[in-house]
Assembly symmetry: C2
Homo-oligomer: 450 residues x 2
């Protein structure tokens, strides 16, 4: 067993970070002696007006660490007692609570599709139920951001994409987890320094308008910055007039070149990026600054990146924030955690439009003769798919980690490899009609048990 690392941040191990009903249901299971193992399946329901053709599994590492860390502190138990909802024997049970379940999951960076389990938990029903809220929260958010970020990287072709999202993220945790998920899906760097420290993600930054206004003029600001940061400098050129800013940048860049240093780039943050980037490119090239790159930020997402490149914007790297960091066009996933097996029977709910596939599952991925992904089959857990790879792997057994802890760089490589194997037609940014989406079938055995 790998001892769990301390949570780097976030309420992490607090089992009170859950919905009240998880605890009241637990108390009722406890009182009625319900202890049989239950299996819950975490998956994304395809919403009617969904926007994604594929998803990128993310968040497993942090979710598993949270499961390892779950402990009720004395003050937490005292709080629960103060609510007058719980009996003493259940509170005593909580004092000794440890998560002791088994977990199978998709590795981080795995491409996946609606209805496929991202993770299945098998544990005594109280434990399996208690972790619902946390698992949906952590894996749902990170999968949503990784999926959104992958679309940006795809749209940017081979240009760089950098995460500038921290300030507009929904809270601090979101800013951290979004930086990690975006890097997993191919972003080149983040502006979030703590994420850089925590996960060894390359960090990147330029300067703010306030910096420029703190000096007499742009040339003075650029000169001062270059003095300290030399060839790592990126000058922000749109504080007053963007073309004047470009000329000032070129002047300082040429002076730097005289001293043997090459300005890294300039950044545009407002106005018509296509037209302006080309004008700025001409100014820079005209001044002999062919090596100075153009960074652009302000409202970019996969659609605006695609449009800018289609119109031949002279942009070398995109800084993306707002729209990507909150997945603005689809800011929550319809991700659910449903009981599919309890004791000796498969179970499901039948609420209209919310039907669940009963039983423990496995996901099989078939490739075509070129080695490209051809289709997925959702089957029963103990099926074998001769010509297919089983995607759900055991990651926790009896509450302890199985195998190596996921490594972010490895997960990032996995995603890159997987994404190259997904035929291009499934990568469309617009939502595809069902018959054109990547095919996901149900195996005969699984169908037979519904």
């Amino acid at each position: 067993m790998r001892p769990p690392d301390p949570q780097p941040f976030g309420p992490g191990g607090s089992p009170l970070l859950t919905d009240l009903y998880q605890l009241t249901m637990g108390a009722s299971y406890f009182a009625t002696g319900k202890k049989e193992p239950a299996t819950f399946s975490l998956f994304i329901r395809d919403p009617l007006h969904g926007k994604r053709n594929f998803y990128v599994a993310a968040g497993l590492d942090i979710a598993l660490r949270s499961l390892c860390d779950l402990r009720f502190s004395d003050s937490e138990v005292a709080y629960l007692k103060s609510t007058d909802l719980f009996k003493n024997d259940f509170l005593t049970y909580l004092k000794n609570f440890r998560f002791s379940g088994d977990v199978v999951a998709l590795s981080e960076g795995t491409l996946c599709f609606a209805h496929e389990p991202l993770l299945e938990v098998t544990a005594p029903i109280i434990e399996a139920q208690l972790v619902e809220t946390l698992l949906i929260n952590l894996i749902g958010f990170q999968t949503m951001i990784a999926s959104k970020a992958a679309r940006c990287v795809h749209a940017a072709k081979n240009r760089g994409v950098i995460d500038f999202g921290l300030r507009r993220a929904q809270g601090r945790d979101a800013g951290m987890l979004a930086a990690r998920a975006a890097y997993l899906a191919g972003f080149g760097a983040t502006s979030n320094v703590l994420a850089g420290k925590m996960w060894k993600i390359p960090i990147s930054g330029t300067m703010a308008h306030s910096y420029v206004t703190a000096f007499e003029n742009e040339e003075a600001a650029f000169t001062a910055f270059a003095k300290d940061f030399g060839s790592k400098s990126v000058f922000l050129i749109d504080t007053y007039d963007i073309l004047e800013g470009a000329r000032a940048a070129a002047k300082v860049a040429n002076r730097m070149r005289g001293e043997g240093r090459q300005l890294l780039g300039v950044r545009l943050d407002s106005g018509n990026m296509v037209a302006l980037s080309r004008k700025v490119r001409r100014i820079l090239d005209g001044a002999g600054c062919h090596g100075v790159k153009i960074f652009a930020s302000s409202g970019f997402d996969e659609f605006k990146i695609r449009e800018a490149l289609a119109q031949k914007a002279a942009i070398d790297a995109f800084g993306v924030g707002n729209k990507v960091t909150v997945s603005a066009d689809e800011p929550y996933l319809n991700i659910v955690y449903k009981m599919v097996h309890y004791g000796t029977r498969s179970v499901r709910k039948n609420s209209p439009g919310k039907r669940t596939l009963a039983g423990k599952k496995q996901v099989f991925r078939q490739c075509n003769r070129d080695g490209l992904f051809a289709r997925d089959i959702i089957g029963v857990r103990d099926e074998t798919g001769d010509d297919a790879r089983a995607l759900l792997e055991p990651v926790m057994r009896k509450g302890e980690w199985v195998g190596e802890r996921p490594d972010l760089e490895k997960s990032r490589s996995r995603f890159k490899t997987e994404f190259n194997l997904l035929p291009n037609q499934y990568k469309a940014l617009e939502r595809l009609p069902p018959e054109k989406r990547f095919p996901v079938a149900i195996s005969a055995s699984l169908a037979g048990q519904q």
Copy 2:
């Protein structure tokens, strides 16, 4: 000085939870000897396609605590050194860093409008700049959620609104802060147990579909739950067939009544809520269960609440999650933190469409003869408005708290009072054209200094 509490959760005090450029600019200010005080203003820009007619200031308490806690740990300084971006003298400066600035701000729960400063920081430029990312993140998110939640409470008229959002929140921090911001804006309770513990918010919950499926049938599930939770029970009735579920609930409720206990309610979580709630009401009433309330969840936001009530849904309380917890129709605010004064001069940027009002400011609120809010005036800081209340109050001086720490219940009352004073026409859920929005003027003195 009130000693800062430890951060209850979140990376809190880590000053690395910032954008890299805050640190590189800081290093450059340090190297060039720029130490004059700068004033930065935090405000919401009115986006072209904005969706809100008013905002509710929120997040100040947690933001101020973060400012108090800002310290660079040894490992953080070591990380910065490892990036090769910073010189030793600047790293030594960071080791001793404390936030020593002055802050004026709107109290939490204050109604406010676009362009009005939520907060202004005056501090040596390095310090004032460094906290930009964190302030935008914390105050932006909480203000966004409080504003969204206030709309739901308004739409629900006097029915209860409960936060069920934790699972779909964007990370753990967001789930916590959203529960707090929603309570501030009038929600009656949250399902988030940790938020309940931390901020004394009433907690509420029902049961999940998995609970119902863990029993032989609904009646058995309801009976078991009622045994433990009696008059606090809310039965979920849509696991199989909602009308059958209602009949089973009525049967158990009547048996409970025989034992002197009153079932609190039933919950609907799928289907057509208007038609179903009325059918369920008839079943309950027909069985003599007039006191059993109907809770409804699944996809509610201010628009769906309004629609349901307009169609005379028989719903007594709304559980809201997804759409409110991420503010789905506007999932980030166009909130910025701009330098408006440096040393002895007012400053601003002129980027197209992003102009800033220069100078330190105050916001004045005028009431009409009935005591209702009539208009706001953004003025210069040291103006006095004879017939108007100044909204920005000193909350931090030289890095120390001024006055009492904000109390959540007081802020909640403040919001309630303020909202009652806002004339109804400004509370519209649809975005109003500029001439119909609450009037916000610029004082002659402020205009004169642009």
